[in-house]
């Protein structure tokens, strides 16, 4: 098994009883998590008792196997399933051994496939040992190639000691910010409104009217168009200009208005009506 999914077979009080029933002493006190799987365990049982692998006493081995997996963690279905499957195979072979078999070569010994698997697994294990040796030997030779220095001391993750209760407590301690307390930030436009108001006023010093498009044309950024329009609206609100557009999407004209209220100074926050007058339409 790749993980220590199996709890240790009970020792102490339970061990003597098991040893007594099997009559084999401590041979059968096995730690399941030491084994990589059922074949590993079975091979261990066979080899430690010096059993002839080609003539396995299947009844004895089956009992020992079943006893050894008493400590199975039944909640680990995958891992336990592999051991249980082997147990089922052993029991089936044991039953087949009891049936009379004809002595011709057609019918194989019921143990044959199991023996093949065990031998094969044993060989694979032997090869794995040789591979590990080859790997170690190769590891003693170094080629070129720089690697980043290994960080020291921080390789081990600190154990996670937080409990769910603590997580819950932390979650409950969080105060939900009140919506009205949330700061609301506006970014100041890079193009000041005053600049555009001045632009319109300057243009209107020389002519009584000016095309909106002509005021915007020198700049590419949309913000200039927006600010120029806002400046026009602001001046209109202050009754310094009036905005004229013949039809939707047509050129917008800004017209000078000679009015007594207009003294030539800019009053961005000054009082005034927010509506356009004289039927102007602004698209």
């Amino acid at each position: 098994m790749e993980s220590a999914a199996f709890s240790r077979a009970p020792t102490g009080g339970a061990a003597p009883a098991r040893a007594g029933s099997s009559g084999r002493g401590d041979l059968l006190v096995v730690e399941l998590d030491r084994f990589q799987g059922p074949l590993d365990l079975l091979l261990h049982l066979v080899r430690r008792q010096d059993i002839d692998i080609f003539d396995i006493p299947i009844a004895t081995i089956t009992d020992q196997f079943l006893e050894a997996i008493q400590g199975l963690d039944t909640e680990d279905l995958d891992g336990a399933g592999e051991f249980l499957e082997m147990a089922a195979t052993l029991v089936r072979i044991k039953a087949q051994m009891l049936l009379p078999r004809p002595q011709d070569d057609e019918d194989e010994d019921p143990r044959a496939e199991l023996v093949r698997r065990l031998l094969e697994y044993e060989q694979i294990r032997e090869i794995a040992v040789r591979l590990a040796a080859a790997e170690a030997e190769r590891g003693r030779r170094f080629g070129k190639g720089y690697v980043e220095p290994r960080p020291r001391g921080i390789l081990v993750d600190p154990p996670l000691e937080t409990t769910w209760d603590e997580v819950m407590a932390a979650a409950m301690a969080v105060k939900v910010p009140r919506p009205e307390a949330r700061p609301h930030r506006l970014r100041t436009g890079l193009v000041p409104l005053e600049e555009k108001i001045q632009l319109i006023l300057d243009a209107l010093k020389e002519a009584s009217r000016v095309e909106f498009g002509a005021l915007v044309a020198p700049w590419k950024e949309k913000i200039h168009g927006v600010m120029t329009l806002l400046a026009g609206l602001e001046l209109s609100r202050q009754r310094a200009v009036s905005l004229h557009q013949v039809r939707l999407f047509h050129e917008l004209w800004i017209l000078r208005r000679e009015l007594e209220a207009w003294a030539g100074e800019v009053r961005p926050g000054g009082p005034g009506e927010g509506t356009l007058t004289e039927g102007e339409e602004v698209a």
């Binding site: 990589q36 070569d105 019918d107 697994y121 060989q123 090869i127 591979l131 170094f142 190639g145 690697v147």
Partner: protein, 196 residues
């Protein structure tokens, strides 16, 4: 410029094994045979002058590696690559795949007796095995084989360097195909040939 010097320069500058044919690309005047000759020449030279490194045949190519006896000195440096070690299950799985390739996951699991999907994925991520094809039968299962990196990792020149079955204490028999084995078990019929 001598051929041996060119080969030496190429091997020195490479951080991975190079095949003779790859080294031969360094110059129009070189071919594979000349590269092999040059390598022999260099090996003799290194041995005679007691260099700390050798030209080693590994992973289907040649690479300049330090002699193993210098490992204790090099291991003290953090800037020297640390050799990685594979886990027991990984080695077991690799052993099966190396000898039985191309082989599918189900067969690996049958031989090991345990689920192996995770190990196979890890080995594939590390580039030690790769999908080499698809098998016949239900779902056309993926078949795995070992890679050049596998040879490099274990210092093998080729798959022939794997321990041979006859060198091993247990004699591995030719297997009956797995589907026949399982069929035999289910039907209570004899599965393949008997045990000697």
């Amino acid at each position: 410029m001598k051929a041996a010097q060119i080969v030496e320069a190429v091997l020195f500058a490479s951080d991975a094994p190079l095949k003779a044919e790859e080294i031969a690309r360094a110059d129009e005047s070189l071919d594979e045979d000349q590269v092999e000759l040059a390598i022999q020449e260099l090996r003799t030279l290194y041995d005679e002058s007691e260099r700390a490194f050798q030209i080693v045949e590994v992973g289907d190519g040649y690479q300049i590696l330090t002699r193993p006896e210098f490992a204790p000195y090099l291991e003290r440096f953090d800037t020297v690559p640390r050799p990685s070690r594979l886990s027991g299950p990984a080695l077991e799985t690799l052993a099966i795949i190396a000898y039985r390739q191309p082989i599918g996951r189900v067969e690996v699991e049958y031989i090991r007796g345990v689920g192996s999907a995770g190990v196979i994925r890890t080995l594939q991520d590390r580039g030690l095995i790769d999908v080499v094809g698809r098998g016949e039968g239900l779902g056309r299962p993926l078949l795995y084989g070992t890679t050049r990196k596998f040879l490099e990792h274990f210092g093998f020149a080729s798959l022939d360097d794997l321990p041979r079955p006859e060198d091993l204490p247990v004699i591995l028999r030719e297997r009956t195909p797995l589907d026949q084995v399982l069929e035999g078990e289910g039907g209570g019929e004899g599965a393949g040939e008997g045990v000697a």
